[in-house]
């Protein structure tokens, strides 16, 4: 019986495994080449640091592709010469074999790795490291909270959430902090990420070549709603940015009309005021985001839903629907009350 097993062993025909492996590699390379679309892609850089990283990425992938291809070709040769001992043309020479291991396993890697190391960690790093304090013109403080970002502009009274405005083509010093657990600020088109760690103030450069909107997201697992903790960076022409900042510094715009005034009373009389701040009013809570200029933002709840009256109404009616686990409770208000609240909040420009 054992003998028949052995015979079967020799006779079994084989598919050509290594060819399939090679095809796979090729398909994968093509797939990767067409990649690079999307609003949050590190491969679509819009600033010098991000561009450097993208360049570094393609270089490394190029080198890796050559190494991978070379190794797969060697395995293919192994399959093609499976009936002969030794190397093709060279034959059986053990010093050549050991030499091959030394060359491919030690010499070539050392040379390539020194190159990668020098380029990545001495050249590119210069751009992506924390900027010198004197080299920046503006500081933005971004504080991670479960699960939204609080945005402040030190030296001004401006506070907002999840949507960072910066002047275009201006070196901005971004300071990352946290009020609770570790989060990570990541706007891939503009720069690498930086974690926000309790007790630490980490900094990176924020810079955008072109006016526009850049998407970012929390990159460090931070609990239930890690998935809904995104942010936008709006890069505006400097004059527009300054006007925006001046507006953000102002306190609440007093409610106009009876419905909005009713909404404000409801806001102040219920739990809303103990968790949110509206500057210029009695609401000074710090659990949820500052709402002084809520209407200025394009989205709600860390980019979970658009900032529109209908969404705002549904959010207040059942805050756990869109973002289960967030800290806002349902308040048990009537639809009429909620409608008034929405009218008030929509007036906060």
């Amino acid at each position: 019986m054992a003998r028949s097993t052995l015979r079967r062993f020799r006779q079994d025909r084989l598919p050509s495994p290594l060819i399939r492996v090679a095809l796979w590699g090729a398909a994968a390379a093509v797939a990767l080449a067409v990649a690079g679309c999307g609003e949050q892609s590190p491969l679509k850089p819009e600033s010098d640091p991000a561009r450097d990283i993208a360049k570094l990425t393609w270089w490394m992938f190029g080198i890796a592709g050559v190494v991978f291809g070379g190794a797969v070709v060697m395995l293919l040769i192994g399959w093609l010469t499976r009936r002969e001992e030794g190397l093709p043309f060279i034959g059986k020479r053990s010093n050549v074999e050991t030499g091959a291991v030394v060359v491919f396993g030690i010499v070539i890697p050392v040379v390539v790795l020194i190159g990668v190391f020098a380029f990545a960690n001495l050249v590119v790093l210069d751009d992506t490291d924390a900027p010198k304090a004197s080299s920046t013109e503006l500081t933005v403080e971004v504080t991670g909270n479960q699960w939204f970002w609080e945005v402040r502009y030190p030296g001004t009274k401006a506070v907002t959430a999840n949507e960072i405005h910066i002047p275009v083509r201006t070196r901005v010093n971004l300071v990352g902090k946290t009020d609770d657990v570790i989060h990570s600020i990541w706007i891939p088109q503009l720069n690498r990420k930086i974690d926000t760690v309790p007790g630490h103030r980490n900094r990176i450069l924020l810079y955008a070549d072109k006016p526009g909107r850049y998407r970012g997201q929390c990159a460090e697992f931070c609990g239930l709603q890690h998935a809904h903790m995104s942010m936008y960076v709006f890069a505006d022409p400097p004059e527009r940015f300054r006007a925006w900042l001046r507006n953000m510094e102002r306190p609440e715009a007093p409610p106009a009309g009876p419905s909005a005034r009713g909404g404000k009373r409801i806001f102040m009389a219920n739990q809303c005021a103990s968790c949110h701040t509206i500057r210029g009013t009695a609401a000074r809570g710090d659990i949820g985001p500052d709402l002084t200029h809520l209407r200025d933002r394009t989205t709600l709840a860390g980019l979970t839903i658009p900032n529109r009256g209908d969404y705002l109404l549904r959010w207040i009616r059942d805050p756990q629907h869109f973002k289960p686990g967030n800290k806002m409770p349902a308040l048990g208000l009537s639809d009429a009350q909620i409608q008034k609240l929405v009218t008030y909040l929509e007036g906060l420009r």
């Binding site: 590699g25 999307g38 949050q40 396993g105 990545a120 570790i182 760690v197 998935a227």
Partner: protein, 635 residues
């Protein structure tokens, strides 16, 4: 076949059989100290946890099949994701590679009759089972760990994780660490002291080098993890402040301690797989390994350098630049020993006359996947790139190529390779090859697109994602791939399960293997070797005269048969000169009782019944006393 055994030879094997035999049935399994039976129990238990971890993976993938999917709640997703990681790392790969493969094969490869500490080996297994059940109890009562497998602080602190979820993680892993440490110490002592006479260190098979390096890495890697876990449990249970920044602690302390363990752990996971590759390749390439000393050295270097690179997991936390540069350089250096091994395998295959049978197919697949995983790993030593792509799906792709491709593929190849040895029957070759191709395609469909979504900006560990960022199609492909992969793995299990009953009898050495396990019957007898083999090269099985001499000596001088008692020889560390004869312990109830007492103790710590925990600890001491009361042979 060989000639009829001479009467003296038959007498001796029968006597050895009587001395080494253990009771059949359940009691036999509960009290066994036979490394082969314990190895099999490790295998089956780790396969069961593999199935659980696999189901968790499929749940994760099904949730992510399309944007804004509602299959799992955020909480359930976080539990599935955490349990998947904890299960695969602590309850599957490590127990399977050192507990099952190391345990079963190492003594057979070095010509020993058991591990150095057979009862500690049994203890290690029972603690492993108990710790696995302990962690899964959390899942069963709806409080599974949910702060991720690396459980960053302060998310895992009492303040942000008030339930018992994280306590199951902390205490469960401390408990589990006892098992890994015990097995590692056992394998180290066994490798150093129980090698067959003549098997000097330079004649030891490369598989054993890999096991030795892994075991050393485990012994040194677990203390930092245990330190971190004990600190965390003190914080959580007794209000200490190791990681609390408001009281002078620092959450980064956790990250340092965790990754001082966590990075060596990567090599602990893949080194045994490297060992399996270096066992399978020479057999099927029908030639000796190219650059044997370099490969042996590389295996040890990998384990060693692996301790100096941990902070590359922390490049985004805001370490100062010079620190990151040091760790980037160290991380690049580790490429070199990996490169040596990779090209030694490839060159051996190229220059040999390889037979591409199922076990070698898994190994070739492993080489390709490890190449990809290794190359994507190198990119993390470029600090700015690491800071850009860390915590994205690109990382998930990378480490699954390493852990699934480079660790699990060789384990599966090893299951096919040693199946005939362990069961005495052949697996089904054609089905084996088909299962390889299915798994290989499934593996690449699942994990390759993750590189791309990572490069498109998708962070890892999110329970859902919005439409419109270019991620949808890739996620769909990944999920389809994961089901193909699961089908491939089911096919492997089915093949082996059916072959167990229907397979063609395999004989002792169906593949022409190069190491000593192939000189025993299939399955090996309880005493492993009737004649203690004498070894003159690392390819002991290919030294025909030596093995024929072993056969002859069964009727020869008694000192190579050791049929007077439950005995195995010990040899000197470097040259493996015959040192002394060891009396080996026999079956015992103590290990399982001690494991049960420890399980009770950890449960009491979890439920904060410290007095009862102290009482149980005393009970454990009593069991330990009973264990050491009598001579090992009569216990």
């Amino acid at each position: 076949m060989a000639t009829m055994p001479a009467p003296l030879a038959r007498q001796r094997t029968e006597r050895l059989q009587r001395i080494w035999e253990e009771p059949k049935g359940l009691v036999g399994w509960l009290t066994t100290v036979d490394h082969k039976r314990i190895g099999l129990m490790f295998l089956f238990t780790s396969l069961a946890f593999f199935a659980a971890g696999g189901v968790e993976a499929l749940l994760i993938r099904t949730q992510l099949i399309r944007p804004d999917n509602g299959l799992l709640s955020p909480g359930a997703f976080n539990e599935a994701m955490t349990m998947h990681g904890v299960t695969m790392i602590f309850l599957v790969v490590v127990p399977m590679s050192i507990g099952a493969f190391g345990n079963y094969l190492l003594p057979l490869m070095i010509g020993a009759r058991d591990l150095a500490f057979p009862r500690m080996n049994a203890l290690s297994f029972w603690i492993y089972v108990a710790s696995g059940l302990f962690v899964y109890t959390g899942l069963a009562i709806g409080s599974a760990p949910d702060a991720g497998w690396f459980d960053y602080l302060p998310l895992g602190s009492k303040q942000y994780s008030p339930g018992p979820n994280v306590d199951f993680y902390t205490l469960g892993l401390i408990f589990n660490g006892i098992s890994s440490t015990a097995t590692a110490v056992n394998l180290i002592v066994t490798t150093f002291k129980l090698r067959a006479p003549g098997m000097s260190l330079n004649r030891m098979p490369l598989f054993c080098y890999a096991m030795l390096a892994t075991s050393f890495a485990l012994v040194f890697a677990l203390p930092p993890l245990n330190t971190a876990l004990i600190f965390l449990e003190l914080d959580r249970a007794l209000g200490f402040h190791f990681f609390d920044v408001t009281k002078g602690g620092d959450p980064l302390l956790w990250q340092h301690l965790f990754w001082i363990f966590g990075h060596p752990e990567v090599y602990i996971i893949i080194l045994p797989a490297f060992g399996i590759a270096t066992a399978i390749i020479p057999t099927f390439a029908r030639r000796k390994m190219v650059a044997f000393p370099l490969v042996a050295l590389a295996e040890i270097l990998v384990a060693f350098i692996g301790f100096g690179v941990w902070a590359h997991h922390m490049f985004a936390v805001g370490l100062d630049t010079i620190t990151t540069i040091y760790f980037a350089a160290a991380s690049l250096i580790i490429v070199i020993p990996s490169g040596i091994q990779l090209f030694a395998w490839i060159t051996t295959i190229v220059t040999g006359r390889p037979r591409f049978k199922t076990p070698l197919l898994w190994i070739v697949g492993f080489i390709v996947l490890f190449l990809l995983g290794g190359l994507s790993g190198v990119t993390f030593a470029a600090i700015p790139f690491d800071q850009q792509l860390t915590d994205t799906y690109y990382v998930v792709a990378h480490f699954h190529y390493v852990i699934f491709g480079a660790a699990v593929f060789p384990l599966l190849g090893g299951m096919f390779y040693w199946f005939p040895k362990v069961t005495g029957r052949m697996y089904h070759e054609r089905a084996g090859q088909a299962s390889f191709w299915l798994s290989f395609v499934g593996m690449n469909l699942t994990f390759f697109p993750m590189h791309i979504v990572g490069l498109l900006g998708m962070p890892r560990r999110q329970y859902t994602y919005p439409h419109g960022l270019g991620w949808d199609g890739y996620n769909l492909v990944e999920t389809i791939g994961s089901y193909l992969l699961a089908a491939g793995l089911l096919m492997v299990v089915t093949n082996l399960a059916v072959s167990l009953f229907r397979g063609v009898p395999a004989g002792n050495d169906p593949f022409g293997g190069d190491t000593l396990e192939w000189s025993t019957t299939s399955p090996p007898p309880s005493y492993n070797f009737a004649v203690i083999p004498r070894v003159t090269s690392p390819y002991a099985m290919w030294d025909r005269e030596d093995r024929q001499a072993d056969q002859r000596d069964l009727a020869g001088p008694a000192e190579r048969v050791l049929d007077e008692g439950h005995e195995t020889p010990a040899s000197s560390v470097l040259d493996a000169d015959w040192d002394e004869i060891l009396e080996m312990p026999a079956k015992s109830w103590s290990p399982i009782l001690l494991a049960a007492a420890l399980a009770a103790g950890f449960t009491m710590l979890l439920t904060r019944h410290y007095v009862i925990a102290a009482v149980v600890a005393l009970l454990a001491l009593v069991v330990l006393g009973g264990w050491h009361w009598k001579e090992p042979q009569e216990a």
